[in-house]
Symmetry: C2
Subunit: 302 residues, 2 copies
């Protein structure tokens, strides 16, 4: 007996499927698995990350790749891009790691010059939608939103009554820290969700994107020992070498990733395979999937 939770279970929880993992699948599934679906996928089921809306957060241990969602937070994303282009984050650090909640980065001393970036940016907690077509609704009930689903690879909530939509705080979501005032954030301090989805934050703070690779570099940071998980001493903070927009990075240094198109039939197969798991390991099928348990597969570009 190999005392482990089987691969079928685990692949399900992976937000990044390494190509190598496919070879490790042990039991022949009695029902199609996510790994099978990805294996059978075609080029048209994937889209590349847009280099103009991709951030590389480089640290000693590796690269965190964040896809920005300007369609959900145009003003905040624009300010973040200004900060990044002007080198705001280079040499700063991880300032906080709060267990089962968030990792946060920025200027621990809050002294660095914002240069041409705005000091205050109105929060974009929700945004109006005029075209409902881009929203691929999940059939399953969700207590935090009237409707949930995906917009171009981003997990989102939607309220058809007032025609608003918003990005949800699933694992890996990236947002703009703020104080009590709704315009008190500007993107100079950002956080990523590293625990069970704090969906209570939805519609209360601006979500600007999602970590597509390298979230483990944030989630495995030592936890801060101060209040709220802030680090108390400078030497506890992990340094950020730089944050750059992929488009500004020489081609040879870029990480080419593809995200499964959430408006593809293939993605619906993934959702169904996760809603009712196949393989020999599962004895009980949930017949349900909660939004933040839906994987949006990512792979190295082919």
């Amino acid at each position: 007996m190999k005392s482990t939770i089987s691969f079928a279970t685990l692949a399900a929880a992976s937000f990044l499927l390494a190509g190598t993992s496919l070879a490790d699948k042990k039991p022949v599934p009695s029902k199609v698995s996510m790994a099978d679906i990805i294996k059978a996928s075609q080029a048209e089921d994937w889209r590349p990350l847009d280099p103009d809306n991709t951030l590389y957060l480089d640290m000693e241990k590796g690269r965190v790749i964040i896809e920005l969602a300007p369609e959900f937070a145009p003003a905040n994303v624009a300010n973040i891009k200004t900060l990044v282009k002007e080198g705001y984050f280079d040499g700063l650090s991880m300032i906080r790691s709060h267990d089962n909640y968030v990792a946060q980065w920025g200027d621990a001393d809050e002294k660095r010059d914002l240069k041409t970036a705005l000091k205050k940016v109105q929060g974009e907690f929700t945004i109006a939608y005029t075209n409902a077509a881009g929203f691929i609704r999940l059939a399953d009930h969700d207590g935090y939103a009237p409707q949930v689903g995906h917009v171009n690879g981003f997990a989102a909530g939607r309220d058809p009554k007032n025609k608003t939509q918003w990005l949800t705080h699933c694992y890996g979501a990236v947002g703009v820290a703020r104080g009590n005032e709704t315009d008190s954030g500007n993107g100079s301090s950002l956080y990523a969700v590293t625990g069970h989805a704090p969906r209570n934050l939805d519609r209360n703070i601006t979500v600007v994107g999602k970590v597509r690779q390298g979230i483990e570099l944030l989630s495995s940071l030592p936890r801060g020992t101060g209040a709220l998980g802030f680090y108390e001493k400078p030497e506890q903070r992990t340094a950020i070498k730089s944050i750059r927009i992929a488009a500004d990075v020489p081609e040879a240094e870029r990480t080419q990733l593809e995200v499964m198109r959430t408006d593809s039939k293939r993605f619906q197969e993934v959702v169904e395979a996760q809603r009712n798991r196949g393989g020999d390991w599962y004895k009980f099928a949930a017949n349900y999937i909660e939004l933040c348990n839906v994987p949006v597969p990512v792979r190295a570009a082919k």
Copy 2:
């Protein structure tokens, strides 16, 4: 502007409230907060951990404290206690850390003698209940179970149709790794949930308890680079000094903790405060809480 998510938000996500955090609350809440409720709590709102059903997992960096739930998994808990009493885990290690999923420990080489412990224990994925009184139901809808709530501090699902109940895979839940056969687990390899609740595992594997303190020692482990997050080299594995039953540890070395009684009125106040957050930071109240976002407060014994 202190670029941070406010304390009210954060306390909400803490499963362990350090006494010191209470002093750090900044804005005067316009509505009662969880911190206020805990501050106003009385001795009768708390219960101590039972030393006979508490495990201390000691590592170089600190202690992980697990409360066992024999009422949900009597055979598996009994076998784990036999293994622990006979020193099975002492000197073994963390064998796996899979990002946003689980940390797992046991014998990487699977060679250690089980001594008098059973090699196979039938899975206790669900258990029949005859007395419904102990279940404190959460009012909120849950897609993974007909009913959810708490039984003596443990998050649980329940199906009144067949009168079964089970512990749910919320953050910090501890379970018995198994292979494909339902009796292939024996407790010699255990895992703790360190990511977004993989509720699809509910009713598929035996949950035996919950980490009451020290989960950050498991969740911040470096991620394994092998398939399924297994460590590939012995030097990557964090050593376990020992696992002991609290009752077998000299009083002076014990960690005295109390858990808020989930059948108390005080706990209902906590749930409501988290369902609709108070304070100056929140602009939108969710009016909903998902089971795994309900904190079960833990404190140092007074």
